[in-house]
């Protein structure tokens, strides 16, 4: 036992020296997360503002002008007058505007006698981006409602008993997309950093044969892996702490949970990610294959299947099952809850269990593969 501890200490010292000597580990652990977090955090924003809308008014008069003003006053829309539907279409096709609102020449006539002839406005949208199209539709409809309400007040029309639906958006009352996306980006960045730390660095050791010579030493394989995981784990936790600090300081996220569950989730997830990296590097014999596999198993699944951007509940059922195999999913859900809602154990505990299973699987798979590779 003491011999084992002694060997472990020696191995750890070797790993630390190696990390300090080769800047790439430090670069992966600190430079990469910062770059990724800053670029992704500012780059992925779903808060639409100033969406460009062309407005075609075939017969300019009071009603149409009033409506144009109402739309222009919306903070979400930026109106550009177009002389004809033809011009509007051209602007829409080459992407200068997202959509076009057309008021036909009978708009005034109809708007003057709403009871018998509902006035019509036509909204044509470039739906190559369906999400943006739907959001634009919502903003235009909202601006028109504001205009109609103003009209009704002006004409002193008796309100016909409508229904007033009030929205209360919990946890994120302003619906800031950064509050929703940045926790996901932390998860994505940690998947990449954790896996790359071991995948790239250890695959080079395999390629150069230094891994085999280590395994030929009296150190046992478990000790070797423990030493490697331990050192990179410390590095990874450091970068996780940096990422969380950056999220709060730079992006102004609230943090409503406590530190304990965050540390637990981060540790389990890092063990998984580092284990996955070791597994990949052992399986792939060269750095090219290792880097491809790391890319394939980390960045894209973490971005597309973790619920960081796209709602898992809206995916087809078979794909929802696939997402259970993406540990980033558990981390994203935990982080979103800890940042925005607080220590909700009903959400955090099942996710921690998922992360635990992932960590155990990744480490045991590494042990199995390394053993087989030596035979």
């Amino acid at each position: 036992m003491t011999a084992s501890l002694l060997r472990l200490r020696g191995l750890a010292r070797k790993e630390i020296k190696q990390i300090l000597r080769d800047p790439s580990a430090i670069l992966i652990a600190f430079l990469m997360p910062i770059v990724l977090l800053v670029v992704n955090g500012f780059g992925i924003s779903l808060d639409a503002s100033e969406m460009k809308l062309a407005v075609v008014i075939e017969a300019p008069e009071e009603n149409a002008r009033g409506m144009l003003q109402a739309i222009d006053a919306s903070p979400y829309l930026s109106v550009q007058r177009a002389l004809s539907t033809h011009d509007g279409e051209a602007a829409m096709i080459d992407g200068r505007v997202r959509g076009m609102l057309v008021l036909r020449d009978d708009f005034a006539q109809r708007a003057g006698r709403p009871a018998s002839w509902p006035a019509q406005a036509q909204l044509v949208m470039n739906a190559t981006d369906p999400n943006t199209a739907r959001i634009l539709e919502g903003y235009v409809a909202g601006a028109l409602q504001v205009w109609l309400a103003g009209q009704a007040r002006e004409r002193r029309l008796a309100p016909i008993g409508g229904i007033d639906l009030e929205y209360r958006d919990w946890f994120n009352p302003e619906l800031r997309s950064a509050d929703f996306i940045v926790p996901g980006i932390i998860a994505m960045v940690m998947t990449m950093t954790g896996t790359l730390l071991t995948a790239l660095i250890v695959s080079r050791e395999w390629e150069r044969g230094t891994m085999e010579s280590m395994l030929a030493s009296p150190a046992r394989m478990v000790e070797l892996i423990a030493a490697k995981l331990g050192c990179y784990f410390a590095l990874g936790m450091g970068s996780m702490g940096g990422a969380v600090t950056l999220a709060i300081a730079l992006f102004g996220l609230p943090y409503r949970g406590s530190i304990g569950p965050l540390a637990a989730a981060a540790s389990l997830f890092l063990i998984f990610a580092l284990g996955l990296g070791l597994f990949i590097s052992t399986l792939a014999r060269n750095q090219f294959v290792a880097s491809q596999l790391a890319f394939l198993t980390t960045m894209m699944p973490a971005m597309m299947l973790s619920g960081m951007l796209f709602d898992i509940a809206a995916m087809p059922r078979w794909l929802q099952f696939v997402t259970y195999a993406v540990p980033a999913r558990y981390l994203v859900s935990t982080l979103q809850t800890l940042f925005l809602a607080g220590d909700v154990w009903a959400v955090v505990l099942p996710n921690l269990a998922g992360l635990g299973v992932a960590a155990v699987l990744a480490v045991s798979a590494t042990l199995v593969v390394t053993r087989r590779r030596l035979d």
Binding site: L46, G162, I163, F180, V289, Q292, L340
Partner: protein, 366 residues
Amino acid sequence: MLRRIIALIAKELVGLWKDPKTRLVILVPPLVQVVIFAYSASYDVTNVPLGIWNDDVGTQSAELVRRFAASPAFSAVASFASPAEVRAALDAKKVAVVLHVPQDFSADVLAGRTAQAQLLLDARRSNSALMAQGYAAAIVGTFAQDLHPTHSPPLVLLTRDWFNPTLESTWFILPGLVCILSLIMSLLISALSLARERELGTFEQLLVTPLRPAEILVGKALPGIIVGLINANIVVVAALLWFRLPFRGNLPLLEAMLLLYTLTGVGIGLVLSSLARTQQQAMLGVFVCASPMIVLSGYAAPIENMPYLAELASRADPVRYMLVIARGLFLQDMPLAVVLGQAWPMALIAFTTLTVAGLAVRRAVS
């Protein structure tokens, strides 16, 4: 000269092809990613778990609740009687939306007063909350309309969604995947090419061959271009045959643009490769560059939403231009002039990066 270049390209391609694992890694990932990601990338919401908190016993509120439950956007999974229950369920994500109907709802409706209702949303997923609000507003609007059939609405908004009338997410995401998967491949292959020779010490051997710097560059660039184009076309074929996307533009034009685009990817890869001493540094460079390139391109979120500096940075991103071209040619038969307007920045990026890489090789020779 041509013979020499062909020999160098053959050497590079054989290097990629002879290892079965490398071969697999070039061909399988694009296929897997197309299938999985095309189905996952939707901002839409369906079957949002809905809780009902109805304090009203009248028929009007029952009708409103029935309409919510019948909508494909929501599925009613729970009902509550107290705020504490609602809070617990929203916290634990048992429901994402709660419809609260106060006690006097039916009475207000029958008396012709404006009736109040509340929608409580879990906005941890802000985009889904926004979508759910839209669906709820539509349901409530129709309901209010039906309550007073004699009052026709003062204004009707007719919407038409051009180019993607049924708002299919796959139509949006697949042209993006064409760009991204080929980018990752051409970047990686070219970034590793020079760095590998340098790490293994074979770069010097290459330099003493009769090959001129330009020829070395062409030989190093072509494998990345070829593999990038193959990957892009795997996605194009899958999009057209499996996902049944329309293709309204000009196919040769798309291929020409893809060629230019992979050239930019290879250019960036070669610059990274010439800066890196080891394959590992080259790969790190790829990882650090690829993620911002994807994010800033407008693949996941519109460029207009970005802050000014991010928007500015995105102008140096070839993916941004190719994305417009790919979406435009698949869905809307984009006119040639618009395509060319997006093409020249890519040409500029390709020219600059390849020149820098060429200079680096020449410096190594002398």
